[in-house]
Structure formats: C-alpha cells, structure tokens
Symmetry: D2
Subunit: 342 residues, 4 copies
C-alpha cells in the first residue's frame, strides 16, 4: 500500500446525482486530487451552482467537456459519468489520448454488441468493448488492477449478482428460472424533472416500471455467466419506491443439491469473508437504511416453502455507482479497496 | 335497492387505523346510523381524542366493550375490528345475542382449525368457524348476502387473490409455484408505536419482513382453492415501504396452456366486467397512488421471459379492510355494493 | 334546504391537482351533476388519463375549452380552475353568456387593480373586478348567496385570515406588525414538473421561498381590512414542506387590551360557534394531518412571551381550493354549506 | 497543526442518533482512536446491534457505563451524549478522575442555575456549571481550546445564534422582540418510539410543539447576551417536519440603524469570512438539503416589509450535535477545526 501516492482524477458528468456523490467521496479521499470536472453544453459552471450542498467543500467548476482539455490536465484516470451512447462517443478519444477510463454508463458492460444493440442502440466502439473489463471488484479484482477501461456495473446488477454468484458457483441454486424483484429510490431515475417523479406524484406512490423488460437483465445474466461459467437465466422486475436512495432486491431461486439455510449462508460467508464491502447477514434482514450512505452491499439468504429467498441491499448512488467506481480506481492504482470509502 | 333502508351499525375497535377509516366512511354512508363505538379498557373516550381529524364529524365516543351494552343498541350488524384471538373471544357471545358480525381479524378466515392453530394460536370457537363466510365480495356475494358471520379477508390476500383467481380458474397459470412479492404502507402494521416504525427508522427504509413465512400465506392458498376448486400453492414475501398507505403485489406465475398477454388480460376483463371495485388495467401499470383513498383493487397482467407477471394494488385500509367490510355489509343488507363507497 | 335540487356544474381545468380533487368531491355531491369538464389545448382527453385514480369513478373527458360549448351545456355554475391571467381572459365571455362563475385564480380577489397589477400583471377586466364577491364563506355568506362571480380565496389567505379576523375585530391584537410564517405541502406548487420539486430534490428538504414577498400578502391584508374595517398590515413568509398536502400557518401578533389566552380563545369560539368548517382547538395544537382530506380549518391561539401566537391548519387542496369553492357553490344555490363536504 | 497527534476518545451514549452519528465521524477522523463506548443499563452490546449500518465499520460494543472503567482507558476526552440530568450525575466523577468532558446535554449550557432549574430541574453540580465553557466554536474558540468541560450547544440555539449574533453586535437589529420560528426533522426528537412519531402519525404531518415555551429559548438568549454584551430577548417556536434530519430557522427581527440588505449581508460575510462551517448565502436561500450530512450552518438575511428576515439551516445531528462536538474537540487538542469533518 503506497499511501503517499496521489491519483489525479478527472470527472466527466458532475451535475448528475452519482457525479455529485462521487465528488464528495473524492474530495475526502486521501490519495486523490480532483484535477477537473467536465460536463455537456448547458451544464457548466461552479459545482456549487448545481448543488449548493457543495459550497466551501468543492471549489471546482464543471467545464465544457473537451478531450484535449481533459488530456492537458494529465489525469491518471477519467471517471466518465455520462449517459449511455454519450459514453461510447467519448471513450475512443480518451483512450487514444492514452487515458485510463472508468465508465459508469452501460456502454461497455455488455460484451455482446448485438445484445447491447437489442436493449440500447447500435454499438459504435467495438474496440473499446473488447478492451473493457467488467468492474465488479469482488470478482474481477485482478483484471481491474491491470485495466485501462473499466465498465462500472449497473446498480441493479451489482445488487443481484453479489448474492447470486456464490450460490450458483456452489451449485446450491438452479441457474435458470431466477426471479429478481427489486426496488430503487428515486435518485436512481436521475435528476431530470418529470411528471412521473414530480414530488406529489411520487410521494406515497410505489410503482412497478419497465414491465416489458429492463436492460439490466442481460447485464445480470452475463455477469453471472462470466463468474460461474454456466449460462444463467433470470427475470428482473424493478419498482420505484418513494425515497431518495437505496435499492433492495428480493430474489427467488430454486434450491439445488438439497441446500439448507445453514449451507447457503455458509457459502455466502465463505465467498465474502475477505470482501471489504459485502456484509452477509443472518439475524438482521437487509434493509435500505442499513446501507444508506455507504459502499456496502448487505446480503442474506433463507429458505421458504421450498424456494431460496435472497435479500440484497445497497445504496444505488454508492455501491451502485460512485463508490464502486472509486473501489475500482483504488484497485487500478494499487490502493486498498477501502481507501477513502469508509 | 331500498335506498331508504337504515342499517344500525356498532363498531368495535374504533381506535385503530382501519376502525377510524371505517368511521369516516360509515358517517358518509347514506343508509347507515352509527349506533355505537366500543373498545378495550384503556382506550375509551371521544373518538376525536384518538383522532383529532374526526372533530365536528364524528360525535361518538368509544365506550368500554360489553356485549350486553352492544346488544341493547339493537344493531343490525357489528363490525368487529379487534386483534385476532380477541375476536374469537367476542364472537360467540355476540352471536348468542343474535347479532350479525363482520369480523376483520384473521380468526374466522381459515377454515381448518389446525392450520389456524399452526399460524396463530389454538382456535376456541369451532362453531363460529363453521358458520363464517369468507367475505370476498367478488366471489362469495351470495353467501355473504345470507351470512350471519363474515370473515373479512386480509389485505394481502385480497390483493393477491383478486388477480390470481380468474387466471387459475381459466387454467392459464399453474396452481403451484406462485410467488407473491408484496409491499405495504406502514399503517398496515397498526397504530402501536415501535422502534421499527419510529419515523426516523422507517423513513427512507424499505425492508422485508416475515421472512420465515407470513400468516396471510395459508389464507391466500385457501381462498384460491375455494374459488378454483383445485389446490393452490404459493410463497408470499411481504415488505414494508416508507409510506402511510397502499399495498402492491407483484406476482409471478408459470403460464399454462400457451397463455398470451391478450388472453390473460381478456380473462381478467371478463371476470371483472361487472365488478364495481376491480379495475383491470392495460396501459397503466397499477401503482399505490392510483388506488389511495378508494375501495378499488387495480390489476394488470403481462408476460415476461416466459413468466406471467401480475401487478395488483389497493389501499390496505380500505379495500384491504374497512371498505371491504362495508362492501360486505352492503351485500348483507341488500344494498348496491358501492353504496357509500364512491 | 331543497335537497332535491340539482346543480349543473361545468369545471374548467380538471387536470390540475385542485381540479382533480374538485371532481372527486363533485361526483359524491348529492345535488350536483357534473355536466362537463374543459381544459386548455394539449390537455384534453379522459380524466382518467390524467389521473388513473379516477377510472370507474369519473367518466368525463376534459374537452377543449370553448365558451360556446360551455354555454350549450346550460350549467348553473362554472367552476373556473385555471391560472391567473387566463381566468380574466375567460370570465368576461362566460358572464356575457349569462353564466355564474366561481373563479379559483387570483384574478378577482384583489379589488384594487393597481395592487393586482403590482403583484401579478395589468388587470384586463375591471367590470368583473367590480362585480366579484370575495368568497370567504365564514364572512361573506350573504354576498356569496347572491353573487354571479365569486373570487375563491387563496389557500394561504384562508389559513391566515380565519384565525386573525375575529381577534382583530375584537381588538385583542394590533392590526399591524403581524407575522404570518407558513408552510405548504408540495401539491400547492402545482402539477408542472420542475427540478425544484423533483422528488429527490424536494424529499427531506424544507425550504423557504418567495423571500422577497409573496402575492398572497396583499390578499391577506385586503381580506382582513374588509372584514374588520381597519387597515391591517402583515408580513407573510411561506415555506415548502416535503409532504403532498397540508398547510400550516404560525402567526405572531402583538396583544392589545390585555388579552388573556382565555379571552383570545373565547373570541375564536364565539366567532366560529356556528361555522361548519372552522374548528377552534384548545388542547390539541393544529397539525396538517388533523385536517388532511377535509374542508376544515383548525385554529388555536396562545400567548408566549408577550406575543399572541396563532396556529392555523387546512388542506391546501380542499379548504384552500376545491372544498371552499364547493362551500361557496352550496351557498349560491341555497344548500347547506356542508352538503357534499363531510 | 500536529497531524500525527492521536486523541483517545471515549463516547458515552452511542445508542442514540447523535451518538451513532458521532461514531461514524470519529471512525473516519484521522487523529482519533475510539477507545471505548459506554451506555446505560439495558443498552449494552455491539454497536452494530443498535445500528446494523455500523457493521464492519465500527467494531466497538457499548459497555455499561462506569466511571472507573472509563478512566482505565485513559481517554484524552470523554464525549458525553446522555440526557440532561443524567449528564450532571456523571460529570463530577469524570472531572474528579481528571478527564476532560464535552457534554452534549443541556446541563452545563445555562450559566444561571435558577434559570436552568426553571426549565429543567434543580441543578446539582454548581462547580461544573462554573467551570463549563459554552462550546460555540465560532465565538468561544479560545476558551474552548483551554477548557476541561465543554457544554456543547443545542441544535436550535446553534441555528439561531449564528446568524443573529453578528447582526446584533453590529447594531443592525433590535435585541428584543426577535421571533425564532424553526422546524426540525424527527431525529431531533430522539430514538424512543412514541405514538407522536410513529411513522403513520408523523408522515405527511407538520406540527408545532412546545407551544408554551421551549427550553432552548433561554439558551438562545444567554448565548446572544454573552456574545454581544447586551440583553437579548426572543420568542422561539419549534415545529416537527416529516423528514429524518435537518433544521431550519426563519427569524424575524426589527432593523436598527437603517440597515440595508447589503449591509446586513456584508456584516454576516465579515463575521464568518474565516469560519470553516458557516456559509453566508445570498442568491441561494438556505434549505435543509443543502446542509444535510455536513457540519455547515447556512445563513442568509433579507429585508421584507420593514422587517429583517433571516434564514438559517443546519443538520441537527451534525452541526447541531455530533459535528459541533468534534469541532470543539479539534479546538481542544490544537487541531484544525475541520479535521475529520469535511
């Protein structure tokens, strides 16, 4: 651990919720210098103008994104926190400029360009896609350490994959027919005002969405397949919950090999004994308030009427976005994963 | 429809949330005289002392429950809104006094006393159990009309059974392996203060509960079996959602007989074409705000990755309790089901 | 009381929160037929398309507003629930067509056109301004009964004026230097999506607004002056509170004539002894939940450190808008004020 | 600045909201070792048992409070986060044991024992009262640096005093007749479950409390008098707001010496030019979300209808409690005030 190392970071996309959260964590990180913040046209100016919360804490202004300006700052890494499609427009030039990138969009998460195309739009950066490492630190730490381009996982996939992967790997649940029923706080829907999330519409209103399929579903399946080496198939149904932050997945799977609750829990415990940010619960059921404001993912497993029932909770803006990106950054630069994240 | 009929109602248990809600509806009901309100020791006094909301609207005081005092008021029906176990202590005397009862507790819902015993406590009123009619008006209207003792269904069972029953009956979903994932607003947990539901603990906190099994599960299975004539088996997992009111079930089932979404929706539409309080949705996904403050249950169905996915929403204090009881009362006294409920 | 009377009502502006709330009350009102609903371009269609809540309850569609179409329906009264400036564009034609109007905007509330002009925009209907009656039923019931054009009061003015007027009239508080510190739920800000009221911005966020002055201030002063016959002067400061509905004013005034708390309370009690919708509290402090969903205004008064402190609460969408309009309508048509409002 | 200094801290009262918040900040503080956590009978055990949030972050258990056990740990300072009356039972022994104490209760805040007695209970530690320094760092930094016993200010007094003091000192507002109208999130009411703050009672419910006077009022007056050297007199009225955290005061004062808004703002700017945790706002009105999770107090001032109107916001659990205590601790041990607090 080289604690006197300083990482020069450029953040692109500071005006969204995850970007703002990242800036707060980065400004406390003992090994980080925030060299610059960039954003799209129409969203430039002092960070405190977007978030009065940041006054006196974050002196930076968000400047108009330009790859040359970014490169001039000689950052060690660029945190790219922009919408999908925009990201794959930026990445090729950033990589050509020799910069390492942690991309928070979906653009480099799905390895199969045609699957990506079916759920998002045609992919325009196959080279980046080939290069990108899926940044789930609990499973790909070594690859991440050597990566130049990281695809920071989605919030829902992180929440679902962390508890599922060890159980699948141990053969204690069937790899198909998995149901991921999940809820998210409203910050997960982004900062753009909409009637749907206008306060009087959303308050006291619990609502399913993406009922025809959500694009985090193929990401979950791919991640599980990558980790376990066998095809995984699942159905994912998200809901909006009237709260700012927090995500909770209730996952139903078919037990295999006569798994008992003790065995299921032991497998999770073993899998995450050394994981800094996964907490396996037994007597406490995961709940969003227990992870709020942290980079933890809390998981538990039980058996009920012949089904394996898994609960998993995280803060969608932290372990689901900014915190995981910083965890990846720590790995890339040889720091302890937890640096700046407790 | 005899609109000049007056029903004398006694409510037992006005100080809980569902009781208070009932009083508000009853005081607006064109055919109801609220003859008296009774409660347990330590909870007597003017209704407005419990709920300042009720001042100038509800003149009644809650008096100490006593079966003779209730009988002296010659009510046409007693709405019994007390905890399980207490209810089956009251019902035998009320019935002996010749009074009709709509019981809101779980005590008369589960026909099999040993199943009841396994989930609650030993049953002490087998005679009542034999007499009671399960008060789900959409399915048992005729029995309800002639009943002397009605078991008003639980909120979760109402929410789950209404969309499931027609699909099961039509053979479009498998009767086993059904998953009912549901959420409730906090009023569903009652009015007793607890750390768990202390505002700063519950706000911004979405949390699963009853992870070892919830006693509404056997009620759901029994109701579906009664309605469809075939054994139904399901797993029910509830969650607490940070809002006052509202309930939403997301239900997963295995399709049968090549059900298409159109067919599934048509079956629901047909089943509830004449139902006053079930709204089958197609372009709008059910959400708790769309049913808040009403006696409606909104349902929709879709297919996703080979599974039937059902959404069902209601107001736990109305269609899930007080409104359904009044709907049952209307049926018992030959009124239109909707009287006083729109 | 002619309870078999039927009032034909046309509502203009059903797609806003107050309009929707009005429709719900009107559809339950025993003496009302909702003859039509009209709205602006771009906001036409079935009411249930705006509010899925209204399905199966409200069959009406909102049609494009046109004075001739309105007149063809021969309504007894038009409830005009449109923004200020739009209202004074509609009223002259509606009045020319011989229709009675209850206007919910600010356009006819402020008698002095130059005061109106200073806070809003130049006034374009002086004739209407002269004709309009200020529709605060507790003070102007007789004028309202004979009016053809009613200016339905603002929510904040109703909340502040009801407790202040009797105390001023009795000479128990000084008419100047009054401070009205008030809060409103977010529905008071209307249904248009904005970053300010985007759920993740507004939740957990209590915030003052209109810090340079709010246009309800001159309305409050005028109403108090009209009622008491002496100039009243006050400072009004509103705040947004993270909740759907509810309004609470905390008002500070200088006592006069050695007012004691008993005397102050007695004056309020006397003033509102016969008022259907004002509840004078003594042992319960007004709170928004005690009036939610009702047409009540709860008021209380106390003395603290030589100042008179008044609390006043109402539901901004009901007593602050739709309920008060219906109360006015009841008066106009010789019904009991409470008809359809309990 | 001696950044390699380590302060051994004992916290008494970790199971309350402010104590839990303190533990989180202390565990991140670069110069702190949390030597032990103590609590009352019935509230001992691992901190994570009280707050599952703290798992894997805070290994400490709360042990039964005993002054000798505390002393054995040789702490440099004891943070005493227990209720009033309990605190003055503990402090004498802690001081006798030679330990420095930062007390969060009200017991040592009010210098005049008879004033304390009138609002709380008879004072039992006059020696401690004489020794205690009022820990408002923006005004008493020097005294705090040399103190052995610090009375950490109340949340409301901090919120009100910070903006008022400079304006009073500059003679720009009158020292009497000040009105402090304030709101607090529900965590301010503590962690003990009560019907009043049961989620379904508090949600959607804005409510005044302490309408006969609140004991933070004499603390505010004393603090202003201490700082300005002239008697200050004010009326304080608090309200509960349905949110977890945050406090906002809207303060009304009479201008003096023809203060303009520019002058008022300039005085605040000058007063807090070097203050790490006070942010003087001009174009942004303070709001609770802008300070949530931080140790900042945001203030602004305006003139409206001849009155000075001040807004002040802070996080009641941080600048109103734990953060301010750590700020005081930093001062006591020669660290930069901001250490561990950004």
């Amino acid at each position: 651990m080289t604690t006197d190392k300083t990482i020069r970071v450029v953040l692109v996309g500071g005006s969204g919720y995850a970007g703002c959260e990242a800036i707060r964590w980065l400004s406390r990180h003992p090994n980080v210098t925030l060299a610059g913040v960039f954003g799209p046209e129409g969203e430039t100016g002092p960070m405190e103008a977007f978030y009065p919360l940041l006054s006196k804490q974050v002196p930076q202004a968000q400047e108009l994104y330009d790859v040359e300006q970014v490169a001039e700052l000689s950052p060690d890494v660029v945190l790219l926190c922009v919408p999908h499609k925009v990201a794959m427009g930026y990445v090729p030039d950033l990589r050509t400029a020799g910069l390492k990138v942690i991309d928070w969009s979906a653009d480099y998460r799905i390895k199969n360009a045609s699957v990506y195309g079916a759920w998002y739009c045609p992919h325009t950066d196959p080279r980046g896609l080939a290069e990108a490492v899926y940044g789930l630190p609990e499973y790909f730490a070594e690859d991440i350490a050597g990566a130049d381009l990281i695809a920071n996982p989605g919030c829902y996939p992180t929440c679902a994959v962390l508890p599922l992967a060890p159980l699948l790997r141990a053969g204690l649940i069937a790899p198909t027919g998995i149901l991921v029923n999940a809820i998210s706080g409203v910050s997960g829907a982004g900062r753009k005002a909409s009637l749907k999330n206008h306060y009087p519409e959303r308050n006291e209103n619990f609502e399913p969405y993406a009922t025809a399929g959500h694009r985090h579903q193929p990401e979950m399946e791919q991640a599980l397949t990558m980790i376990t080496g066998q095809e995984a198939e699942l159905l994912f149904q998200p809901h909006l919950c009237p709260m700012d932050r927090g995500m909770l997945a209730t996952i139903y799977a078919t037990p295999a090999n006569n798994a008992s609750r003790e065995e299921l829990t032991r497998v999770l415990n073993d899998a995450y004994a050394d994981a800094a940010f996964v907490r396996v619960r037994r007597d406490v059921t995961p709940a969003t308030k227990y992870v709020a404001g942290t980079n933890f993912c809390d998981v538990s497993v039980t058996l009920n009427k012949g089904r394996v029932v898994i609960f998993s909770a995280l803060d969608n803006l932290i372990k689901g976005a900014s915190g995981q990106a910083i965890q990846n950054m720590n790995l890339m630069f040889g720091l302890d994963q937890t640096t700046g994240l407790y």
